[in-house]
Symmetry: C2
Subunit: 384 residues, 2 copies
C-alpha cells in the first residue's frame, strides 16, 4: 500500500446518518478541499459553458470537472501542459477532476475498433484515427494535471447483456491495473478506480472487490444513468456503495437530476457530476423547488419575479423572468448564461442543505420533506 | 427655457485643455453621474453581448446604451415598462442612454417609405409593417425609461449629395421640434438634439444653430462614421463641436476606434458609444496598446501571457492567450466573453487616462505620445 502521507486525495468522514448510508465528509486534494456530498459542474472543453470562473465560484462550487476526451483532441494535452496545467488553463485554482475519456469514447465517438488493449476511434474534429489505451489516458491526465484522475474503463450501454458486461468488467479490471502502473504523478494526482458491471450484482460485486484490492485513493461507480432506469440504478447503488471502503471518497459518475443525487447520497455516495444544470440551462430550462420551468413560456413575458423566488444567485438577484425570456428569444448569450448560473446555484444550494441536514442529524426528514429532493426528469408543469 | 432645477441631465465643466477644445467634465442624470470624456458600451437588445452587468461595471463603464429600434420590435417597449423600465430590465442601476431608432431604421431596416411625417419599414422579426414617427420614437423611449433619450433624426449615408443632406436637415429640425413636444417625461429624461448635415459646413452650422435655439439639455453630432472617412469627420467636428453650448454635454454617435475618439475629444466631444469593442471581441480581435491582435492566430497556441501585458481586466488577470484561443476554436462562449470584456476595459482605461491627463494639464502630450491614441481600423499586424 502507498504510505498514507503520500496519498494526494484523502477523505475525512465527519458524520454518518443513523438511518441511511448517507455521510457528511470532506475531500482534501493538493489544490484545496471540498465538502461532501459534493456536486461538480462540468467544464467539458475546459470551461463551464457560459460562466466566468468567478461566477462558478459564487455558486458555491468547490471542485469542477473537465473531459479528457475533448481536451486531448483539442487543444491537446501538451498544449494545456505548456499553458501551465488545467488549473491555469481554466483559471480554476481549486480542485479539478478529469474523467478518463472512456465514457465519451464509448458513447460519443465513431469507434473503429475495441480490443483488450485499446479503443480506436475517429476524431470528431479532423477525422484522424486516434488510439486510446489505459496508459495513454493516464498520461494525458498526467499532462492535464487535475487533482483527481480516473481509470480508463469500458462503459457498455445500460441494456447490454450479461456477456457484454462480463467482458467490460474484465477489461475494466485489467485496464485499472495498467492505469495504476502508468500513473506518473501518484503523489500529486489521486487516481480513482471505476466499478462497472451494469445491473448485475455478481459483476458489480466482483469488480468492486478486485478494485478495492488494488487500493485506489477513491472509487467511482460508472455505467449508471446510461439507460438502465431509476429503479435499477437505485438497486445497484444500494448494493455497491456499501461495499466501497468507508475511508475513501465515492463518486457516482454523470448523475443526475436532484432525485437521483439524493437517492445516491442515501446509499453513501459523496461526489457527483452532471451536465444537466448547464445543458438544460442553455435551453431555458430552469430548476425551482416547485418544479422546473421553461423560461421561454409566454406566461413569463411580463413576469417581474426572479427565476426562483428566494434564490440568492446572481441571476435571481438581478434579472426578471421577463427579461431573461427576452434574451432567449433575441438569441443573446445572456439568457443561457443566467439560467446556467441559476441552475448550478440551485444544485449547490441543495447540496449545502443536504450537508447541513447531515450535520444536524435531520437528513432523513429533510429528504422526505424537501420538494427539491423529488425533482426528476419529468417535463416542466407547463409542458404537460 | 426649462427652469434649470427641472433639467434632468446636467453638465459640469471641470477643466478645459489650454491647447485644444478638449474638456474634462461630469454628466449628472437621475440615476447617477458619469465622468467625461466617457465611452458607453452598447447593449443593442438590452444586454452588452456576453457580459453580466457586474463585469460591465468592473470595466469602469458608468453609462451604457441600448437601442430603441431593437427593443421596440422585441420585446416591445410596453413589455420593458411592465418589467420595471430599462434599468431593471438590463440590471443596470446607473445611467442609460437610448438612441431614437433613426440610425437603425435608415441603415438596417427594409424601408418601405419615408415621408416628412414618418418612416415605414418592415420588422426584421416578423415582417410586419412598422411606422416610426418622431412622436412614436419619443413615446417608446419614455416607456423604456433611459436617463438620456435622443431626438428622431434622418441620417443619410456619408456620400449622399448636398440636396439629400439638405432635406435630412430640414426633417431633422422639424422632427426635433416634434420630439420636444411629444416628450412626456421632460423632468426625468434628458432629450438630446442631433446635428445632421453630412460633410457640409453650411448645413451643419444651420442645423446646430437652430437646435441650440430649441434649448435641448445636450447635443449629439450624428451622421458621422457613416462612410465619409476619417479626415472628413475630423473636419466636420472641428467646425461643429465648438458651436455647441459649453454648458451642455456633447455626444458623438457611433464612434469609433480609439484614434477617432481621441480626435473628437480634441474638438470638445464628451460622450461616445460604439459596438467595436464587443463586436470585434466576439470575432477574437483584441485591442492592445501595441496594436490589435487576432487571438485565433496560431502563434498564440502556447502563449502563456495575458491578452495584453499590464491590463487589469478580469480576462487578463485570469486567462492565458493560449486558453482563450482554444475557447474560440472550440466554439465556447468563453472566448467572445473574455475578449469583449478586455476590449471594453481597454477603452475604459484609455478614457480614464484621457481624463487624468486633462486633470493634470498634460492632455496634448498624452495624445501625442500614447500609442493607443493612434489605433484606427488598420488590420492587426499579423494579418498584413
Amino acid at each position: 500500500m502507498t504510505p498514507v502521507s503520500d496519498v494526494p486525495v484523502r477523505y475525512q468522514l465527519i458524520r454518518k446518518d443513523t438511518l441511511s448510508g448517507a455521510r457528511l465528509g470532506r475531500v482534501t486534494t493538493p489544490n484545496g478541499a471540498f465538502d461532501t456530498p459534493a456536486f461538480m459542474p462540468v467544464g467539458t472543453q475546459g470551461t463551464i459553458k457560459g460562466l466566468l470562473p468567478d461566477h462558478v465560484a459564487a455558486t458555491g462550487s468547490q471542485c469542477i470537472l473537465a473531459n479528457t476526451y475533448h481536451l486531448m483532441l483539442r487543444p491537446g494535452e501538451k498544449t494545456v501542459a505548456a499553458l501551465g496545467d488545467l488549473h491555469r488553463f481554466m483559471a480554476w485554482p481549486g480542485p479539478i477532476l478529469t474523467d478518463s475519456g472512456g465514457f465519451q469514447v464509448f458513447s460519443l465517438a465513431d469507434i473503429n475498433k475495441v480490443t483488450d488493449e485499446m479503443v480506436v476511434f475517429k476524431s470528431h474534429i479532423d477525422g484522424a484515427m486516434v488510439e486510446l489505451t489505459p496508459k495513454r489516458s493516464i498520461h494525458v491526465q498526467n499532462d492535464l494535471g487535475a487533482d483527481i484522475i480516473m481509470a480508463f474503463d469500458e462503459c457498455p450501454p445500460g441494456d447490454a447483456p450479461w456477456e457484454v458486461q462480463r467482458r467490460a468488467v474484465d477489461r475494466t479490471l485489467r485496464w485499472a491495473e495498467k492505469c495504476k502502473v502508468a500513473h506518473q504523478r501518484p503523489t500529486e494526482q489521486g487516481l480513482f478506480g471505476i466499478v462497472q458491471g451494469g445491473v448485475n450484482e455478481d459483476l458489480r460485486g466482483e469488480c468492486a472487490q478486485k478494485l478495492i484490492e488494488m487500493d485506489f485513493p477513491g472509487y467511482a461507480v460508472g455505467g449508471l444513468a446510461v439507460g438502465e432506469g431509476f429503479d435499477a440504478m437505485k438497486k445497484v447503488l444500494g448494493f455497491v456503495t456499501p461495499m466501497l471502503p468507508e475511508n475513501k471518497p465515492r463518486y457516482l459518475m454523470g448523475v443526475g437530476f436532484p432525485r437521483d443525487i439524493v437517492t445516491a447520497v442515501l446509499t453513501g455516495i459523496d461526489m457527483f457530476d452532471c451536465t444537466i444544470p448547464t445543458r438544460n440551462g442553455r435551453n431555458a430550462y430552469a430548476f425551482t423547488a416547485a418544479g422546473a420551468i421553461r423560461i421561454r413560456n409566454s406566461r413569463f413575458t411580463k413576469d417581474t419575479g426572479p427565476i426562483e423566488e428566494g434564490c440568492d444567485c446572481y441571476a435571481c438577484r438581478t434579472f426578471t423572468r421577463g427579461a431573461i425570456r427576452h434574451y432567449f428569444f433575441a438569441g443573446e448569450m445572456l439568457g443561457p448564461m443566467l439560467v446556467s448560473l441559476h441552475n448550478i446555484r440551485f444544485y449547490q444550494r441543495l447540496m449545502a442543505d443536504l450537508r447541513q441536514s447531515l450535520a444536524d442529524g435531520t437528513f432523513t426528514r429533510f429528504v422526505e420533506n424537501d420538494p427539491r429532493c423529488r425533482l426528476g426528469p419529468a417535463a416542466p408543469a407547463e409542458d404537460v
